[in-house]
């Protein structure tokens, strides 16, 4: 008896230092957010009404939500596809090491560790309409100057460029590991069968690294859903809401308009999206194990 009590105390002593903050700042807030989303609380006053799912109805039928959803889809899809394709491209160029390949790896990965706010400021100067180097460079190719973050037509493009620039090295790191794990014997067999380079890429490499691709697809999409820093610096969701993503809308509803009910409804929607994505990835990756 005494022994079990002591054992339980030891377990508690090891688990609680992490579990208490986890419960207070992760688990409880999730339920709390779900509850707030069912009210019309405005943060300023103490009273509020329970409005059931009305916040969700209003949110999901509002034009700003639809626009933000569309922006989010465009942003997530474009940055995920470019990050993944770019990461695979870089990894294929680098995975057979040569003198200096380590330097390239470090270089491509380095933007990932820098603060998004600081590098977004640098990019903002690059994208400057009048004196930015971006316009000077595209001018060399005879293209007309763009307004970049100043126009609703190109602002999203600028945000995507910064995001991909920052995350492509991250994808590369995963692909480098994945490419090393592809069994060499498969390529040898393919070479004996006189398969071309392209054939062995499509029929050996791609299937073998597909679990990594799915992992990266989900991670970059979830990161995309949570992108805030670069948008806040480059465009603040503008011009004319053209770069306002769901998360940015959440920030504006919650911390600019103090519409806590509506913002929480949006938070729960985002949460469900992320969970659905994670489950989809788990299901697919369990069926597609190639190594």
């Amino acid at each position: 008896m005494k022994f079990t009590l002591r054992k339980n105390l030891t377990v508690a002593a090891f688990v609680l230092p992490a579990l208490i903050p986890l419960a207070v700042f992760w688990i409880w807030p999730i339920f709390n957010a779900a509850y707030i989303s069912l009210t019309n609380w405005d943060y300023m006053t103490a009273e509020y009404d329970f409005v059931a799912f009305r916040q969700y109805e209003k949110l999901l039928s509002s034009g700003e939500f639809h626009k933000a959803l569309l922006n989010t889809l465009v942003f997530c899809a474009a940055s995920a596809v470019l990050t993944i394709a770019g990461g695979l491209g870089l990894a294929s160029l680098l995975h057979r090491g040569f003198r200096g390949s380590g330097l390239f790896r470090a270089l491509f990965f380095s933007p990932w560790i820098t603060p998004t706010v600081a590098v977004s400021l640098v990019w903002m100067w690059i994208f400057d309409e009048k004196n930015g180097i971006a316009n000077a460079v595209i001018g060399l190719f005879g293209l007309p100057a763009l307004k970049w973050v100043g126009s609703s037509a190109t602002a999203m493009l600028a945000v995507i460029i910064v995001t991909v620039w920052k995350s492509v090295g991250y994808a590369m790191v995963f692909y480098l590991t994945a490419l090393d794990k592809v069994p060499k014997s498969l390529y040898e067999a393919a070479a004996l069968d006189r398969a071309s380079r392209r054939q062995s890429f499509f029929w050996i490499t791609l299937p073998c690294i597909s679990p990594t691709t799915f992992f990266l697809a989900v991670v970059t999409t979830i990161n995309g859903l949570q992108a805030y820093d670069q948008i806040q610096i480059l465009t603040q969701g503008g011009p004319a809401g053209s770069t306002r993503t769901l998360l940015y809308l959440y920030y504006q509803l919650g911390f600019e308009k103090y519409d806590m009910g509506r913002a929480s409804a949006l938070a729960v929607t985002l949460l469900l999206l992320c969970i659905a994505l994670s489950f989809a990835q788990n299901l697919i990756s369990k069926r597609m194990v190639h190594y």
């Binding site: 090891f14 903050p21 995963f174 990756s285």
Partner: protein, 296 residues
């Protein structure tokens, strides 16, 4: 053995020679491509560095890459006459305390998950894994309310306590612990070393690289963190680097952004991180690659 690429040298027939030429062509093409992409990647950093040393009129002249004479004064200005060093101190201090707690508590949690037997262990871990999928922003409104009720808005304590757990770190350590041969911990148990001693005297020395990866990745995350700290702090002297840099940028903006100073400020914040990364890059990458095993 890579049978496909190695040409047999003695057979120097024209066919083989053309194959060698093709290989050479591909190598050259690859290097050109890599250098172009490398320049694209490094360009913002280089442009930041050269812009930081220009005068304002020089900066407006896009055709000028290097400054005529480097304006070291810009660096002096941000280093000694701006609040940026204070923001760097804030970030270093808050990150150090936060990460220290995250590592100790995370190691204990992961140790319990791997080496202890108790009821509800599976459920506990399922819940923790569940939290890993939750976007942090979804918890911001309730967390904001909790901090305001505790009177911790706009304080160092608030910045630190709201970030005491690193779920990523717990998974990273758990994975490393689970791969240890059981004999070691069992031997420690036979020696009647307590769990605490086993963790720090037996398990920790064998998983040191994982600890280092955890510390680095979590530290960088805290240091660079922007959205949450900016929401819960208001006083300028409490800003972390990201928020502080933005403040610096906006305040200068009243008279037209002073881009050389903004670039010098960005450089002040980015360059130390790049140096740290250059020295320890192996550990960053090892920590990340382990992450694939968790979610994948």
């Amino acid at each position: 053995m890579d049978l496909s690429v190695k040409p047999v040298k003695s057979l120097n027939t024209p066919v083989k020679r053309s194959a060698q030429l093709t290989a050479l062509f591909y190598t050259v093409l690859k290097m050109i491509l890599l250098c172009a992409l490398g320049i694209f990647t490094a360009f913002p950093f280089m442009w930041m560095a050269v812009s930081a040393l220009k005068t304002k009129p020089e900066l407006m002249d896009v055709s000028l890459f290097l400054p005529r004479s480097p304006q070291w004064n810009n660096l002096y200005e941000v280093l000694f006459r701006s609040p940026l060093p204070r923001y760097i101190f804030n970030s270093l201090f808050v990150s150090a305390v936060t990460v220290a707690y995250q590592v100790v508590s995370g190691a204990m949690f992961a140790y319990a998950a791997v080496f202890m037997r108790f009821k509800g262990k599976k459920a506990l871990f399922a819940v923790t894994l569940g939290c890993y999928m939750v976007p942090g922003a979804a918890t911001y409104i309730p967390c904001y309310i909790i901090l305001s009720k505790m009177g911790l808005l706009d304080t160092y304590t608030g910045l630190i306590v709201s970030n005491l757990v690193s779920i990523f770190g717990i998974f990273l350590l758990r994975q490393a612990f689970a791969q240890l041969p059981r004999e070691f911990t069992e031997a420690a148990a036979l020696d009647r070393a307590g769990h605490w001693r086993t963790l720090w005297r037996v398990v920790f020395p064998m998983t040191r690289p994982t600890f280092l990866s955890f510390i680095l990745i979590s530290f960088i995350g805290c240091y660079n963190n922007y959205m949450w700290p900016a929401l819960i702090t208001n006083r300028p002297e409490l800003s972390l680097v990201s928020q502080g840099l933005r403040r610096f940028f906006i305040e200068g903006g009243a008279y037209g952004t002073n881009w050389p100073l903004v670039m010098a400020g960005s450089a002040l914040i980015i360059v130390p991180l790049l140096v740290l990364f250059a020295v320890l890059q192996k550990h960053f990458i090892a920590g990340l690659s382990a992450d694939a095993g968790i979610k994948g």
